[in-house]
């Protein structure tokens, strides 16, 4: 008993000692980095990196609004970032500590400044689109050779969905992206904050609701890769990861990603430092490390998302920079839309509508 108590105190003392070493706690999306970069950061800086993941903006936002999350770097999406800045969740970046800011890409910085004027609070990590992940051979077998795999028709037309249902269709559980998609499909303004316009998304979903197997924001990567489902409405890079996992597994599944031709949502995941971050210095070092062109390219090459770092482009693999699903052409870029955060009252309408759609009643 005495010895065990002794070891216990020793462990405590050790834990206390290691807490004095410099550390940085990063909270990022799941499947969203090349993990060898984390080791590289530790080796280069001698800072302990504690890496933790989430799969929904809502979870992150609740932690930010509650305060005291203990994280030094977090990665909200633009619309959420804007609201969290307004709530006072983040500290202004000390740009003198971020020399690598010069590597950033003006095309993206211009768009992210819509959420974060002057890009004062955050740097862009990745950006992408929300579109259609399709198990091509299966879908063509069901809907024929000319299946509309690059159109919202695939998932919003009830006759298509009825046939696809048995094979399995997943939607993101992210109302702030799924409602705009339906609005775009019926030709309304996807960024509408008018409850009457938003309500028009309901019949679109109710008509296809019986054929949707699940609303989930991360399970679709595996489900698509192992052939458990045929179609997933999801995030570009996630679906491209599913494509690669399927190719590696050689299980006969062939996944393709398309941003629907009617218009798809473009979003930006931004790295920011919480106002109460315990180690803001280390956090700045991490941001600067990420903005290093080679590191940023390594991350993009691994997760198949485009980044907002111009200098990284020369280090990108050909199947990343050359893939229009990841780096769309100028023309395709113009076809993408962005949205702005909902006001609390409108948010309630959107969430309620989404609950109604999900429960199917």
């Amino acid at each position: 008993m005495k010895t065990s108590l002794l070891t216990f105190t020793a462990t405590l003392a050790l834990a206390a000692a290691s807490a004095h070493a410099e550390e940085v706690r990063v909270y990022n999306w799941s499947d969203y980095i090349d993990e060898s970069l984390l080791e590289k950061f530790e080796q280069e800086t001698g800072i302990d990196l504690i890496y933790d993941v989430f799969d929904s903006n809502e979870v992150l936002e609740t932690k930010m609004l509650a305060g005291g999350s203990g994280y030094d770097v977090v990665v909200p999406t633009g619309t959420f970032l804007q609201r969290q800045i307004a709530a006072g969740s983040f500290q202004k970046l000390d740009k003198s500590k971020l020399p690598n800011l010069e590597n950033m890409w003006d095309v993206i910085s211009e768009r992210t400044s819509k959420y974060d004027p002057g890009n004062d609070y955050a740097i862009n990590y990745m950006w992408g689109t929300t579109g259609l992940g399709v198990n091509v051979p299966k879908v063509q077998e069901i809907l024929g050779e000319d299946a509309p795999i690059d159109s919202w028709d695939l998932v919003f037309k009830p006759e298509n969905m009825e046939k696809l249902a048995a094979c399995g269709v997943y939607f993101l559980d992210a109302p702030s992206e799924m409602i705009p998609a339906a609005l775009k499909y019926i030709g309304e303004d996807p960024d509408s904050h008018d409850p009457d316009v938003i309500a028009k998304a309901e019949p679109v979903y109710m008509a296809i609701r019986p054929y949707i197997r699940k609303f989930h924001s991360s399970e679709y990567i595996n489900a698509l890769a192992n052939g458990e489902i045929c179609v997933a409405v999801g995030w570009s890079g996630d679906i491209l990861q599913a494509r690669d996992r399927a190719a590696e597994a050689e299980n006969g599944v062939e996944v393709a990603y398309n941003a629907p031709k009617e218009g798809a949502q473009m979003w930006f995941d931004e790295m920011a430092i919480p106002v109460d971050a315990p180690n803001p210095d280390a956090a700045h070092k991490f941001l600067n490390f990420i903005m290093d062109p080679e590191n940023m390219a390594a991350a993009s090459n691994y997760v198949y998302y485009a980044n907002g770092n111009k200098a990284s482009q020369e280090f990108l693999a050909e199947d990343v920079i050359g893939d229009p699903a990841i780096y769309p052409s100028e023309e395709a870029l113009n076809n993408l839309f962005t949205t702005t955060p909902y006001e609390p009252k409108v948010q309630r309408v959107v969430t309620r509508l989404w609950t109604k759609i999900k429960s199917g009643s």
Partner: protein
């Protein structure tokens, strides 16, 4: 003095672990949503002293509770949770009673081992156990693979992401809570009572129905409450195993809190849930007390 301390301990426990958290939730349920950190007002400002307290109380209102009555979502979710909890409790009893009965009838030297086997799953994290059910029940999962291989079915059964999967998950998770109290009631059962019943002309079935069942009733009631009460507020099982149409109040609460960022309404939902739960909890306490008196 010692006696006073002994009596005080449970009250301090109740105060620290129930009353204080409850009052915090109640306070949030009476405030308003705001874009701030934390996202609600008014906040109690102790520094402002008496004035702060006065302004705090003047801004409190019951608007969030009246809001719950304006949308049928909440009542549907409460009712659906009650229904799922009731059916799960019944199913757990159906599975748990025979197990407890067999354990209590097993030779005495086996019983500690059997008891151990019931408790053993608790050594694995609850989350991991629910995740492994996802592996068993999914379309490509173990269950479907085996059934397909045996030729019992030709297309995979679609169980994952349905309410059926929720029932399976709940029954599995809470089974020990049903088995243990029933087992402890049955184990104490005096075997000579059954012999007497049979001597008096009862068939084995009649003896079970007239002697064993009534004498194990307290265990059954305790087990049912231990399953029913936590199942109503269950969140993890329906969100991992259930489909989008599995409506439970735990999920509604999550959405209020996370999607709407409306902590005040989320807290109101939680307070009402507690009020609903208080009835079975009181019944449970009373049953326990009666049992103790009967034994005393």
């Amino acid at each position: 003095m010692r006696r006073f301390v002994l009596i005080a301990i449970p009250y301090v426990w109740l105060l620290a672990l129930f009353l204080v958290p409850f009052l915090i939730v109640l306070k949030i349920s009476l405030s308003d949503i705001a874009l701030a950190r934390p996202p609600y007002t008014p906040q109690l400002d102790f520094a402002a002293g008496w004035e702060g307290l006065k302004s705090f109380f003047s801004e409190l209102d019951f608007e969030n509770f009246t809001f719950l009555t304006t949308d049928d979502l909440y009542w549907k979710a409460y009712l659906s949770s009650l229904k799922i909890a009731a059916i799960s409790t019944f199913l757990t009893l159906l599975v748990g009673y025979p197990v407890a009965y067999a354990m209590a009838r097993a030779p005495e030297e086996w019983r500690p081992t059997l008891l151990m086997l019931v408790i053993l799953p608790f050594w694995t994290s609850f989350l991991i156990r629910v995740y492994s059910w996802m592996g068993i029940l999914s379309n490509e999962g173990v269950l479907n693979q085996v059934l397909l291989w045996l030729g019992i079915i030709d297309t995979p059964l679609h169980i994952m992401n349905t309410t059926t999967a929720v029932y399976i998950g709940v029954v599995y998770t809470y089974l020990p809570f049903m088995i243990l109290p029933i087992y402890s009631a049955l184990e104490k059962l005096d075997g000579s009572l059954l012999e007497a019943a049979e001597d008096l002309g009862c068939s084995r079935l009649e003896a079970f129905w007239l002697v064993t069942w009534p004498l194990s009733r307290n265990g059954i009631i305790a087990g049912c409450f231990l399953v029913f009460i936590p199942t109503i507020g269950e969140f993890v099982i329906p969100s991992l195993l259930g489909g989008s149409d599995t409506l439970m109040i735990g999920k509604v609460l999550w959405e209020e809190f996370f999607s709407n960022r409306d902590w005040p309404v989320a807290s109101a939902v939680a307070v009402v849930l507690l009020l609903i739960l208080i009835i079975p909890i009181i019944l449970f306490q009373r049953n326990e007390q009666k049992q103790r008196e009967a034994e005393g």
